[in-house]
């Protein structure tokens, strides 16, 4: 008797499961067809870092102190700067990151003393070689300015 009971109950459980599937069929689609339609990025989204442009100076405030370079666990950042003359403040001249090694922990953004680093909103990154993942932050800022 148990045998037949199990067949009936088991068969019914499959029908129940099918009912869930059929009900789901009438609900709206949950996926988004990506290139044609895009979702809004989260406000906290972390892309690779980039320079902020400050309205009072019209440029970044990087003083090439190297705090981000030392904080980075993966040695992603290389920054260099010069002093225009002996008593002037140092400003950055070169700022490169190798994004392929970055783990987006945010330590550089948090340690920056002048708060000149921010996360970009870049998410469509592709390249043909590893060199394509190197980002020149200076050039990027110029590009955004123009």
């Amino acid at each position: 008797m148990g045998y037949w009971k199990e067949i009936v109950e088991g068969g019914w459980s499959l029908v129940e499961g099918m009912r869930v599937t059929v009900r789901r069929l009438c609900r709206p689609v949950v996926t988004v067809q990506y290139p044609r339609k895009q979702l809004n990025l989260s406000p906290a989204y972390r892309g690779h870092i980039e320079f902020k442009r400050f309205p009072d100076t019209g440029t970044h405030k990087c003083i090439a102190c190297g705090a981000c370079q030392r904080a980075c666990p993966s040695h992603v950042i290389k920054v260099q700067g010069v002093k225009a003359h002996l008593n002037s403040a140092k400003t950055a001249t070169h700022y490169f990151i190798d994004f392929s090694r970055c783990s987006l922990c945010g330590l550089c953004v948090e340690t920056c003393p002048t708060k000149t680093l921010q996360y970009s909103r870049e998410y469509e990154l592709e390249g043909e070689s590893r060199l394509d993942s190197i980002v020149d932050l200076m050039a990027r800022l110029e590009q955004r300015n123009s």
Partner: protein, 374 residues
């Protein structure tokens, strides 16, 4: 205690390599199965394909720099690992945490636990041949990822916790989204039960399959839902409450047989309990206040000594063992991961089962291989 099965005296044992297809795929586990016909006589897990040396990496970077590594061990519950590491170092260095941060971290950690269990639910049922529940589970999980993405900016490897708080405050939208998600998840449970729990095929593939005896579990150091399915109510959140878990009212679901079906039921019930914790945390969370103790320096150096801190990740008891020589770099950073012990009980459990059951058992244990190899 079941009697250990001695290999039968067959002259021809067939060795099956239940193994990786490509060494660079994620989660590569290789199990060498010795088969007598359709039955397994010996199972030998081969590990180390995903070894990245996280423990060694911990020794040559500061405590803060090690934070992104923690979420890359168990990539399905990265936030729990972040949380655990933050708690360990806070205890080690005596850092105070604002109350609001504690609530934020608890809510996010429990959300992460649910997302991990949902993923396990989906993939386990897919291992058994049911594809539809996988899509539903991922739909729900996507909601959690959206919520966590909103606060942390990442979907998988969060690096959200900091020593003394979290890196970003939450807003009212986050609280609303979390509340809405819990309502939504609860409304989905009946569907899951109709689709999977009551399904006759699923029951037949899990009931009395891969029974872990409580004594066996103790011997191998099995923890987490796998241990609780054997009927032992051991959960670090209750046994040694950390953070603010002692203030919440929740239960520890336990099973009776210790078979795959029990492990499934325990995990599903745990999701409900996590929902309860989140609801209580949302109600009691202080409205304003600091979310981060900003006095923690980058070159944080805990006092000379050692610390062992255990917490409950989605897979079981996880622990950080840190030794400090007074410098900003840990002298030793050992991580006790639950999947390692959970996996090795299989060498016993596999013996005498059939190959098809082995897949079901392996799935029900819920191992994350990068966590084992780390």
């Amino acid at each position: 205690m079941p009697k250990p099965i001695t290999p039968p005296a067959v002259d021809r044992v067939y060795t099956l390599n239940l193994g990786p297809q490509h060494p660079s795929t994620h989660g590569v586990l290789r199990v060498l199965l010795d088969l007598d016909g359709e039955f397994i006589v010996k199972a030998d897990p081969v590990l180390g394909y995903g070894h990245r040396g996280h423990e060694k990496m911990g020794e040559n970077r500061t405590y803060k720099q090690f934070m992104p590594n923690t979420s890359r061990m168990d990539y399905l519950s990265g936030l729990l690992y972040n949380h655990g590491f933050a708690l360990a170092v806070e205890k080690f260095a005596g850092i105070e945490v604002p109350l609001r941060a504690k609530y934020i971290r608890t809510i996010c950690a429990e959300l992460n636990r649910i997302s991990s269990h949902l993923l396990w639910f989906g993939t386990y049922v897919m291992d058994l041949g049911g594809f539809t529940p996988f899509l539903y589970a991922f739909d729900d999980r996507e909601n959690i990822l959206d919520i966590l993405d909103r606060v942390s900016g990442s979907r998988l490897t969060y690096s959200y916790c900091r020593f003394g708080g979290v890196c970003r405050d939450v807003d009212d939208t986050f609280l609303e989204m979390t509340r809405a998600f819990i309502g939504r998840l609860r409304s989905r449970f009946p569907d899951y039960h109709n689709l999977v729990t009551k399904n006759i095929i699923f029951i037949h593939r899990t009931r009395n399959v891969g029974v872990i005896h409580p004594e066996q579990a103790r011997q191998f150091g099995v923890t987490g839902p796998n241990l609780r399915a054997c009927g032992i109510p051991f959960d670090m959140r209750k046994v040694e409450p950390y953070e603010i878990y002692d203030q919440f009212d929740f239960e520890i679901p336990v099973g009776t047989n210790g078979d795959a079906l029990d492990r499934y039921n325990v995990r599903l019930e745990e999701m409900e309990q996590s929902c309860r914790i989140i609801e209580q945390a949302l109600d009691r969370m202080p409205k304003g206040g600091p979310y981060l103790n900003k006095s923690v320096s980058f070159r944080l150096a805990p006092p000379k000594g050692e610390l062992y801190f255990a917490f409950e990740s989605a897979r079981g008891l996880t622990a950080y063992y840190l030794v400090s020589d007074g410098s900003p770099y840990p002298y030793r950073c050992h991580i006790r991961v639950p999947s390692f012990s959970n996996l090795h009980v299989l060498t016993d459990v596999f013996c005498g089962t059939m190959v098809a059951d082995a897949i079901s058992i392996l799935g029900s244990i819920d191992v994350v291989i990068p966590e084992i190899d780390r």
